[in-house]
Subunit: 483 residues, 4 copies
């Protein structure tokens, strides 16, 4: 079964989970003005998968059930699968211009699939089968799981077990006969409030003394003891305004939440790691690598929209032929394609894991992401350069219809002949959304920190590069024979 967009929205609407927004528990994430755009963005992943022209890009055959599934649930089997993932993400970015929140879950499933296999190989556990059972359910019911990784961390100079407050890292609080009780919190959970399931995994590489923190599992998002606290985004208040005229992106938006786990029960069959601390490093590294490559897909699609909006405003304002404007737009495209190239290359130069799941090239994935922490900022700067100062000085679009001042707004905000002020302001509001508003939270800050902050990529790049072999090349060329 593949859900339709409406079926997805219904399923989330009827979820019985505890979600708080601005200090209020809300009834429906679908109906609430703050969270609705987030639901709509994810719903688009279901919608696109049902279009005829998207069958190859958005769907594929499950290697577990043999049925057609949404590619957002697929365990990649080869380089081509990885490339298609990137292209699907880019396509979704173009449709939504925001975070559609489904990559982390996807990348997490691919990670768990591979690492549970490796744990079993070494420790004789049966996590891989458990995870495959979970995955079968995901495939059969078209379930969206959110990945929950980042802990609160408390004092960053201390390890989990050294923290004064143990809850700063999610951990086993108690063992029960047929499962465990866990406690802690996960931050920045993308799409958490509108996902069906939560996959939880550790946030850092752990040592023996931190065994209790080495846990991974999946539970329904309306499990008892789980609470979601919505994170605000710039300009999100505009979603509540009557006209919604100044939102910029009319339909879509992302969301992140703090997810609190207060003595939550996890049944044994849903546990995928319990104490195998030696696999926390590999798990995190593989997840990070997959996810870092993903950013070279989704953010590139978002960048495409910003490039389109920028080209449009140049046209509306009659500056599109100016050589410096053309140069700036070319630069935006160039930077955006560079990000894309990183994601494609990391896909093509990937490798098969023992489990059969195909993994990205880690050096190239980190390279890709490190560029993602930089170029969107420059792309936004260029977009604002082309857009002009009106971007931050224009009145509400609603003012265009005001009986007293509407005439002035319409008259003085017209650009080149034949352009309606309304259209000019709408494009500017979209650019505002993406460079200074709720879209910027995803396109900029999340590009910086999502899947790991730049320093994390620098560290991995240093570790993954084969410095010794290039040193040898240098020695050989300058005649240092004996080193």
């Amino acid at each position: 079964m593949m859900r339709s967009k409406d079926e997805y929205l219904d399923s989330v609407h009827s979820l019985d989970h505890l979600v708080f927004i601005q200090g209020q528990q809300i009834n429906s994430v679908v109906e609430n003005a703050f969270s609705r755009p987030s639901c709509m963005a994810m719903a688009e992943t279901f919608y696109q998968a049902q279009l005829d022209e998207n069958q190859d890009l958005f769907t594929c055959r499950s290697h577990i059930t043999g049925e057609r599934i949404n590619r957002f649930s697929h365990i990649q089997q080869n380089a081509d699968d990885l490339v298609k993932k990137i292209d699907m993400l880019r396509s979704m970015g173009r449709k939504t211009a925001c975070c559609f929140q489904r990559c982390a879950g996807l990348d997490c499933m691919n990670t768990m699939y591979a690492i549970t296999y490796d744990i079993d190989e070494k420790h004789g556990t049966n996590y891989h089968d458990r995870f495959k059972n979970f995955l079968r359910e995901v495939h059969e019911k078209d379930i969206v799981p959110a990945a929950c990784m980042t802990d609160a961390k408390g004092d960053r100079s201390l390890s989990p077990s050294q923290q004064e407050d143990r809850d700063q890292y999610l951990h086993i609080e108690k063992e029960e006969k047929d499962g465990i009780i866990v406690r802690g919190a996960k931050l920045h959970i993308t799409g958490g409030i509108n996902s069906h399931e939560l996959i939880v995994l550790p946030t850092r590489s752990l040592k023996e003394e931190d065994k209790d923190y080495a846990i991974a599992f999946a539970i329904p998002s309306d499990t008892k003891g789980v609470r979601f606290i919505y994170g605000r985004q710039p300009s999100d208040g505009r979603r509540q305004e009557d006209t919604r005229a100044d939102i910029g992106n009319l339909y879509f938006g992302g969301s992140e939440a703090l997810v609190v786990f207060e003595d939550v029960f996890v049944p044994e069959e849903r546990i995928f790691m319990k104490g195998e601390f030696d696999f926390t490093g590999p798990m995190i590294e593989l997840f990070a690598s997959h996810h870092r490559a993903s950013y070279g897909g989704c953010k590139v699609g978002v960048g495409d929209v910003l490039i389109g909006a920028t080209a449009a405003i140049a046209e509306f304002q009659g500056t599109e032929k100016a050589s410096h404007i053309q140069d700036k737009i070319a630069e935006m495209i160039h930077l955006n394609e560079t990000l894309y190239a990183g994601a494609i290359a990391s896909s093509v130069k990937g490798y098969p894991t023992q489990s059969g799941a195909y993994a990205v090239n880690r050096l190239l994935a980190n390279t890709c992401k490190l560029n993602v922490t930089r170029f969107p900022y420059e792309i936004c700067r260029l977009a604002q350069d082309v857009a002009g100062g009106l971007l931050v000085t224009m009145p509400s679009i609603a003012d265009l219809e005001n009986p007293e001042i509407g005439q002035y707004c319409r008259k003085y905000f017209t650009g080149k002949k034949g352009i309606e002020s309304n259209h000019r302001l709408r494009i500017l509001r979209l650019i505002e959304n993406m460079t200074l508003g709720s879209g910027a939270a995803a396109y900029l800050t999340e590009s910086l920190h999502g899947a790991g902050s730049p320093q994390a990529q620098k560290i991995m790049i240093t570790r993954l590069a084969d410095i010794e072999s290039v040193k040898k090349c240098a020695f050989s060329l300058c005649g240092i024979e004996d080193r």
Copy 2:
């Protein structure tokens, strides 16, 4: 007389001008939630000038009245005056972290003072005396004038007189016995809604056929026919929320407005240019140069606050000793000081005009501003890098007090030991304000376009540099004697 902060606020409160915000005419710009921060920022220029320790930096003696005045109304007499202006702006930027809206008026007065003198010299007019009379009033009553420059422009490929709709550039609609009737609109008027007077000047260099557009004058902001339409800023809706907890910058903010002039009468004694199109170029260029240097003062002060906030969040989160964090903060300081250096150098390398007013070095002022169009974006990126992803995923600060979820917020958003979540979130909200919120409108987009977009600076730099003389240096060194 120098007004106190409260006297300024009272004077603006009792202004009888027509101001529209989000489609509503408002009663008082001081009381309205959207516009109040703008009034408060400007009020701070009055407050600072009354502090004992600021007498040298914020006040000086009027060369017209001989009385002590706010330096924001001073005609600079020498390089030291220009340097002090920059230092005053930087100080104000530190106090408010926003646009305090008083530089454009100051730079405009210095420009009018110099150019009216030159017009009179050539054309035998008496604009300079008129302007001095106006200036005397400004000094005597401590009046704030806003500079009104940018026209709507319509089709940018056409000159003013070629426009289908003449009003796209402000112009003389009708001559009357003792004055003129003007019509048009001015965009992006900084501090317009909370200034006492408006100084209007042309937006571009004009030719003979555009004579009717070559006008400059000053009128009270509550003159009949003048309307202000407020420009929205990112996240400005938070100013209306009950708690105001998520505003970031609790007190201050800038504002821009569209100012419509619908058949507005300007009395003869307040006209400072009327038809002398040959001085539109010099007027604009001098104003732009002064104002471009100013950005190396105010934005540097704003940058100081962002650096302080970034250093603070690093400390709160326990990362301040990490070498990459230290490196990023050093880079922020470095970029910020580079901007400052540009403003100082353009002040010191200035020149006296015929009128006695001292002008900035134009090449260096343009260089300064071109850096201002770039570095704040990088400074913001670095601030976000150090701040971490919580910047865009944290709940409302108000949630800390919520009876059900407040405990979780307080618990999981604590950083290093001894830091209150409340403090951590407040600093993050300030960084959000400055990099993605209403502060970013001023610190980023306005840095890009205020006083002219980057391309305008590039053009001036090319024109002002003495390429021929450096070519000769090159020829002489490589032996091309005869060129």
Copy 3:
């Protein structure tokens, strides 16, 4: 037959072509001190192809002869072939740290193969067969052809036929019964002096009036009327010094030459375009695209060596643990891998031409190259930063053996304990070679201009991006339905 390294050197030694270096006609490009490193670099392409471990990367089966050939002569049949080409180039860059001069010929052959097919399709000519015959010879005899493209151009604001001196663009001077006489010159011919054949193609897109300039052909490099004038490189004089101690790169170097064609006869069977001006654009664009992607291979390999040398000097000087040093080396790797990603992505996202030859993705190839015009400069700056000032203040390595001062040099140029001064200086000389010497000509300036200057890439990027489709995405998201 695949030539051995020595067979190649012998073949070039015995070439009967006219080569001038520093105003002297030389006897043997292999023996001359200036040109020998260029021969050695190309010889390495033969050497590597004979190593067992390189059979897959450096050789493949000719689709024409069915025999094993050097991959440097291969017509790529699919994406994997393109990827392997890039990996081979990177490998060669690592071996030689210079331009090994064989990519232009390779990329040119792939271009001619595809375009001659298209010309024949439209014009009913038989160029493709002629080219295949030439290619068969190349494959059978393991011949190296150099690509000759850039004309002298004279006044760049005029087209070829408008030039006062027709010879500024190579053209048909006279038609003969069984061939043509051509005249003109080609600049910057990489590896020209040590190649067996020259493939000549036009340098720009031509119109009907420039028909006589629309010619492509291949001739042996010792054809009557052909003269090579060697281009100097920075520090190339060190190749003539007795000790050769300060060369840095002991064995390899690139070379470019001016190739003059003074009434040179081209037999009909070697003509691949004659007047079909409508295919000059596609020919140049395809060649440029292939070649721009190649730069993401060879220059990355050169970058690898520089990274290795930089890591080595850090170790020798005891700074390798400093966090800022590690950060700089990580940045070098990051930039270098970004270049590589561009080449790989443009290969994978390529497309089959009508002829069967596989072409690169042109947008991504241009993106790749545009980064190549920037990053090597930053990589060199970082290398110099890590290397320290000794890079430009050290004496000749030969001074280490001088009886009077050798002791001081050995004593004071030792780095950390256990490091010989000799080794330290050698690595520094290699870095000097690559960032300021003859290696820099290839790694920097050639990266900038080879395969087209940055502006050429900007123009292509603008043309190749699908702006209309991303505009539509933007319109749809902000509610501009009817555009």
Copy 4:
């Protein structure tokens, strides 16, 4: 007395010091092909000071002798003196396009003047008088002293006294009745081989255990036991070629040398620090600050020449009207003026020391220098971009006169009509010299490392910025009252 250019050259010619170049002891630094350009560059500082139009900029009155002296020997008394120094350095950079080697001595004298005063104040020594006596001699005889700072350093993780080989840092080897015997070596000594005197100072901040290394003094450069070993520069071999045609910069060049002190006697009256380790930090920091500001003068002048050469080649090649070319040249000017602004601002915002000598603003001086470590690289990249690939593929200029190939070179290297090939190639050779040749050693690598590598500036910037005060600004704005 102020020396003429010829008197300076004579004085250096007759110096009796031991100079080794490429393993040979040479007779005269003025006559030797390698070192002559270095002498000529410094001679130019004497020549310029004798021109009538330069009296204000290049000369001033000695505050010691009351006589007119070369400004290169002046103890700056106020901000204006510092500004004039920068302007003089920029002017010299324009004249020579290289390092003219006189700033380090100047900055060192200003440093010694101030610090000897402070030492005396604290320790009751009489170094200041000694130094003033030395300075009087400098002023009276127009002597050039070179500053000798950087030690060999051995293992950088160890302090001077911990080194296995004590000589890795210059130190007191033995005390004698009327002086001391010193031993060690100083690296990178700019202008050392053509200066009259050497001023030696420590290279790092020292602690008590390193007292023996805390020495500063001045001695004549032909003192017994002193040896100079010349440092090679890229392409320096071209100075020895018969025609010297490919040198690029026909007259000038810089030089650095290793200076070995083998048991050299220093008389007591020339010792300016002996054991006062507590002043090593301040001495180095003041010298570094002065010298870092200087780079915003000399390198800007060199940048001017490169900008001129780039504008000239654009004109010669007929591309000067292309918008992207104009943009690149504007960018070069912008970057160059930014450097200048840093030097001017650090001068104006300086402060008087206790001694009366005026010191630069240290934060701004470090900011200035940090930009100098970056922008020249980008300026060179842009110059090469505009210059085109011919920069590294053109033959020797001498080939233009060759009977057989000269005609081709002249014909095919002509640019736009009316431009001689000879002129085109000469300008290109100058650009080559400055971006890849011996000029690049000074304009690039020395810009990076001279007066301290970038990391040294980063550290100083962090230390000098008043972070606590900007944190307070942030706290106050976001409502963290009690911190």
